[in-house]
């Protein structure tokens, strides 16, 4: 519509430049004609709703944004009205602290600038959403209004990074690592398998959302561990005589010097019955820490036992390393016996050494559960983790839920506000620790999508919202990838894929040494 008006103004100006009498007449006629046309277009596009039949229920919308809490400045929460035979929708938004927005379109498709202004003006307040829909027979129906709450907590991070991968089985297809500006709809690929054929890579892990320092791993033959600091890429071979595999599932120490990895071998087995598809398990797993300053690998006997140590995560102050550990079961035969405990060990960054004692925070076998993927918040207050019935890989566990531990009191609870009957996993914190992102298979049980939710000082968590898209139904319906390991990035990731590809295919790696 804006384009039509703009074109109209240009033509009108051109018409005004005519100067002869004949041209004057022509101009008057042309202006009149154009005004009439514009009025016609306007009346055809924005329909005045004289009377709408009231429907005494909330509208069915996709994604379910009813009652969600969002940060000001997030990309517009566009949505589709999923009522039968909808031709057009009319959305009126009124801010509790002022401001209005009105859209009439095939779906609720808001202008980014208008949306940002409205949400900024209503920080800490709410938006009242009035939905009216026109059916094919031309009648308008008005549904019950709903609210979207604007959090007082800002989300100033640039956006998200995630790996998109085909869900389900062994072959990953065209895996790609992407970054997404969460304030607009722009998604760009950082690395795709089609650009580095035959190489399978793991997730991109920044240092507490700072993309100046990040790591990612390329698995298998010709693989390696990439560490990028301030734009300089270093490719390591982290496999040594004492470590059985290259590292994965990384976590950065806050000072950016150390990065913890789990060195493991991951496998899959497949169910024959009807309710489950896949069981993912590790045949071994130990934790190592790479000193990126010296190229040495720190190996502690307490993290390299016969058990499986996995998913390391440094605490906010860097003095503790959280991880999960499970007994060495005879997998896949004993896949049901894999129960992870959530543990912690102290770490001294000045000497690069671990403590002599492992503390068990939550005991897996004793509670007959598995506690995995611990993620401490960057303000040191919370510890989020997954709880599943079994396994050290929650993504494939239908019952996996997010849980939260208050690190001040040691109390923990299930995050019922965000959990669904399907898989929730891969939580990660925003730089201010008031927002978290996680992947959930709540939509169809197979494809995981990225959801965001906020948390306040008391640990109160709000209803999560699906990562907004310009045309959400089209985007998510056409999307056959899962959103793996979503994480916040405080600014745009600068990554030179050409240099990375050259380094990757050159097979030149910095061989790490075990720290004595």
């Amino acid at each position: 519509m804006r384009n039509s008006i703009f074109k109209y103004c240009i033509i009108l100006n051109a018409v005004k430049n005519l100067d002869s009498t004949k041209q004057m007449l022509s101009r008057s006629f042309a202006s009149l004609w154009m005004t009439m046309t514009l009025l016609f277009i306007l009346s055809a596009c924005t329909e005045q709703i004289k009377q709408a039949e009231p429907i005494n229920r909330l509208p069915h919308i996709y994604p379910d944004y009813i009652g969600v809490t969002i940060p000001a400045g997030i990309a517009p929460l566009n949505f589709q009205v999923l009522e039968p035979s909808i031709e057009k929708v009319d959305i009126q938004i009124t801010g509790s602290q002022g401001g209005e927005l009105h859209v009439q379109d095939q779906w609720a498709n808001f202008d980014i600038k208008d949306w940002h202004e409205l949400t900024e003006a209503n920080r800490g307040g709410s938006l009242n959403i009035k939905v009216q829909a026109k059916g094919k027979e031309g009648k308008w129906q008005a549904y019950k209004d709903f609210k979207i709450y604007i959090s007082p907590y800002p989300l100033d991070d640039f956006g998200l990074t995630y790996r998109r991968i085909q869900p389900g089985y062994e072959v990953g297809g065209n895996i790609g690592i992407y970054q997404r500006d969460i304030h607009t709809f722009e998604e760009t690929a950082l690395m795709q398998e089609s650009a580095v054929p035959g190489r399978c890579f793991n997730c991109h892990t920044p240092n507490r959302t700072n993309p100046e320092t990040f790591t990612l791993q390329v698995r298998g033959e010709g693989g390696g561990t990439l560490v990028q600091k301030n734009g300089v890429q270093t490719w390591y071979n982290t496999k040594t005589d004492q470590t059985k595999a290259a590292g994965s599932y990384a976590s950065w120490h806050p000072d950016g010097r150390y990065c913890a990895y789990a060195a493991n071998a991951v496998h899959q087995s497949f169910f024959v019955g009807k309710d489950r598809n896949i069981e993912v398990y590790h045949s071994f797993s130990n934790i190592v820490v790479l000193d990126t300053q010296t190229g040495e690998l720190i190996v502690s006997p307490l993290l390299n036992t016969n058990a499986l140590e996995i998913f390391p995560a440094f605490s906010a102050d860097g003095k503790t390393l959280y991880f999960s550990t499970s007994e060495n079961c005879n997998v896949p035969a004993e896949y049901e016996k894999v129960k992870c405990s959530l543990c912690a060990i102290s770490f001294d960054a000045t000497t690069g050494t671990f403590g002599h004692q492992v503390d068990t925070l939550l005991h897996g076998p004793a509670t007959d559960k598995s506690y995995i993927q611990a993620r401490p918040s960057y303000d040191g207050r919370w510890l989020m983790f997954c709880r599943a019935e079994r396994s050290n890989f929650p993504v494939s566990q239908k019952e996996s839920d997010l849980w939260l531990m208050d690190l001040q009191t040691g109390k923990f609870r299930s995050l019922d506000e965000v959990n669904s009957p399907r898989t929730e996993s891969y939580p990660n914190w925003s730089s201010n620790s008031h927002w978290f992102v996680f992947s959930s298979k709540s939509e169809d049980g197979l494809h995981s999508h990225a959801y965001l939710a906020s948390i306040d000082e008391e640990g109160k968590v709000t209803k999560p919202f699906l990562l907004p898209q310009e045309n959400p139904l089209k985007y998510y319906r056409n999307m056959f990838d899962s959103f793996n390991c979503p994480d916040f990035t405080s600014s745009q990731v600068e990554f030179d894929i050409r240099t990375a590809r050259e380094n990757l295919f050159s097979n030149e790696r910095v061989q790490v040494k075990i720290k004595e």
Binding site: Q166, V171, F270, F271, G273, K274, K474
Partner: protein
């Protein structure tokens, strides 16, 4: 000959003959090759799909070619398109030759590039996009103006355009312009045009996430993205040679002789088995196997499935070549062709989850990351059967954007969340009855146990019964066979020829007499003769050949 070809109708007749032969070649002898091309792509009438392609060099040709390749699903239409494509390339070559002053007998030489392309297409990984890109490039060459100034302007403008439309085949056009310019002593264009075109390829590598060598060999010409088919440049090189210089027409005989060598018999045999399985032409598979014994795991697997589907495995399994259980269900490989075929067996057995896994892996293993209509259809089916309606809907919505699968998808969308309708569906309802309810991990070393579970869960599963009993026999494990047979016969009446041969063999090993009624007298007599021959002449007795096709022959001789 020269005089004959001076007549313009002779040329038309020759081209028409070429087209007819090409049509018959694809339609009669290689329809499976056409369907193969269609089944590893999925053209969608969707803006995102089209934009994703046309944003890359060669993407416009890719969209055109993929749009037309979807019609290969119907072999007659596919053969028409394929033959018209070859004819188009020949005609374009001729028009370019004519423009360069060639005539008469030279007409025969115009077939050389098309014939070489025909040979090259024998490599099933060469995509139809390559042929269409070639045709579009030849068309651009034809419209290249003769005048010096016009030629320069045309070249300057159209080189980036042609590069974006067809990809690196723009270099064919570039070299053509170079030759033409040098011939006309227009050295400036001649020298500059190649670096000009190369600069666009190099420049595009700065924006696109692909290295220069991939852009030079084409993003869309070959199915394997990590193989750089430089040899594909042979066809454009010949186009250049034929259109720019006079080639002795006798040379056109050579590519004709080459064509049969381009089509590997074994590879295309497997492709045909896969094609027949896709169309569930079980009788045709058996007839094909009867004509020529299959001897590769995949073809043996297809034959066994067809026999099983016609309930003949228990009677005729050993009349065909067998070589262990690999021929019953080949081991899973991360490969887009074998996983697809093996998945069909699991599907018909009622192992819906395993079939789904094979279908999924096959699609994700397609080397150029394409989707497959056939596989998406199967995934929609397995998810419908498993009651995963949201996932099924996702696949069906994708198929709704196609020409050939739209009606089917719309029909199946009606089944979403209608449990009763699915239960009553002739295929999906049966699959629901066959599939196992209890979850346990699949193991390809315990297939017989899985077949046993399928049978115990639903004794009406005829294919499971046949596979359960044939599996130990293929392993030459008579004890397990007898155990399974007893379990089967407790529940259903099933005692085909192969089982009777197994029973009498088992009893003779134990030196016991077969209880009356288990083995018919003819088989008993036959076994007596076999035992006699074997005891007298041993394993190498030539008389044993008379028992070829029996279980005993397989157990003692193979």
């Amino acid at each position: 000959m020269k005089n004959i070809l001076d007549n313009k109708y002779s040329g038309i007749a020759l081209t028409a003959l070429f087209g007819i032969v090409a049509f018959l070649f694809w339609r009669v002898f290689y329809p499976h090759a056409l369907v193969y091309q269609e089944q590893y792509q999925l053209f969608l009438f969707d803006s995102s799909y089209i934009l994703e392609r046309i944003s890359l060099p060669g993407g416009i040709a890719a969209v055109i070619a993929e749009c037309l390749t979807q019609f290969y699903n119907h072999p007659t239409i596919g053969a028409i398109i394929q033959s018209l494509l070859l004819v188009g390339i020949q005609l374009m070559t001729w028009l370019l030759m004519k423009r360069n002053g060639q005539q008469g007998i030279q007409y025969i030489s115009s077939f050389i590039p098309a014939l070489i392309l025909w040979y090259v297409l024998g490599d099933e990984s060469v995509l139809t996009i390559y042929s269409w890109s070639l045709l579009l490039t030849l068309t651009a060459m034809l419209f290249h103006p003769k005048g010096s100034k016009a030629s320069m302007i045309y070249t300057l403008i159209f080189i980036p355009v042609i590069y974006w439309v067809v990809g690196p085949l723009v270099l064919l056009y570039t070299l053509f312009v170079t030759i033409q310019s040098v011939k006309k002593k227009d050295y400036l264009i001649g020298i500059c045009v190649l670096p000009y075109a190369l600069s666009f390829i190099v420049l595009s590598s700065q924006w696109l996430p692909y290295p220069v060598h991939r852009l030079l060999t084409g993003l869309f010409y070959y199915r394997f993205v990590d193989i750089y088919p430089y040899w594909l440049m042979a066809v454009p090189a010949l186009c250049l040679l034929v259109t720019s210089f006079r080639i002795h027409s006798v040379l056109s005989i050579a590519p004709m002789l080459l064509i049969p060598f381009g089509y590997d018999a074994k590879k295309y045999e497997l492709m045909e088995y896969d094609y027949l399985i896709r169309r569930q032409q079980w009788d045709a598979i058996i007839a094909k196997a009867e004509k020529q014994q299959p001897d590769m795991p995949m073809s043996v697997c297809a034959t066994n499935l067809a026999l099983g589907m016609k309930n003949q495995l228990g009677n005729r399994a050993f009349r065909f070549y067998q070589h262990g259980t690999e021929g019953l269900l080949p081991k899973f490989e991360r490969d887009f062709t074998s996983a697809l075929l093996t998945g069909e067996v699991y599907y018909h057995l009622g192992l819906v989850n395993t079939a789904q896994r094979h279908a999924f892996e096959a699609m994700e293993a397609i080397p150029n990351y394409n989707k497959s209509g056939r596989i998406v259809k199967r995934l929609a089916e397995t998810n419908l059967i498993n009651g995963q309606y949201k996932v099924a809907e996702k696949y069906l919505r994708m198929l709704e954007k196609t020409v050939f699968y739209r009606t089917w998808a719309k029909d199946k969308l009606q089944l979403i969340a209608h449990e009763e309708q699915i239960d009553k569906h002739p295929l999906y309802g049966r699959m629901r009855q066959f599939r196992l309810q209890e979850d346990f991990l699949f193991s390809d070393t315990e297939l017989d146990k899985i077949f046993g579970q399928l049978f115990l869960h639903n004794p009406k599963n005829q294919l499971a019964i046949q596979y359960l009993l044939i599996h130990p026999l293929l392993n030459k494990d008579i004890d397990s066979f007898m155990r399974y047979l007893i379990a089967v016969q407790e529940k259903v009446k099933y005692n085909p020829t192969v089982c009777q041969e197994g029973i009498i063999f088992a009893y003779s090993q134990r030196q016991q007499t077969v209880p009356e009624g288990f083995v018919n007298p003819t088989i008993q007599q036959s076994f007596k003769r076999f035992a006699q021959v074997y005891s007298q002449g041993g394993q190498n007795s030539p008389q044993l050949e008379a028992f070829k096709g029996t279980l005993w022959y397989y157990l003692m001789k193979e």
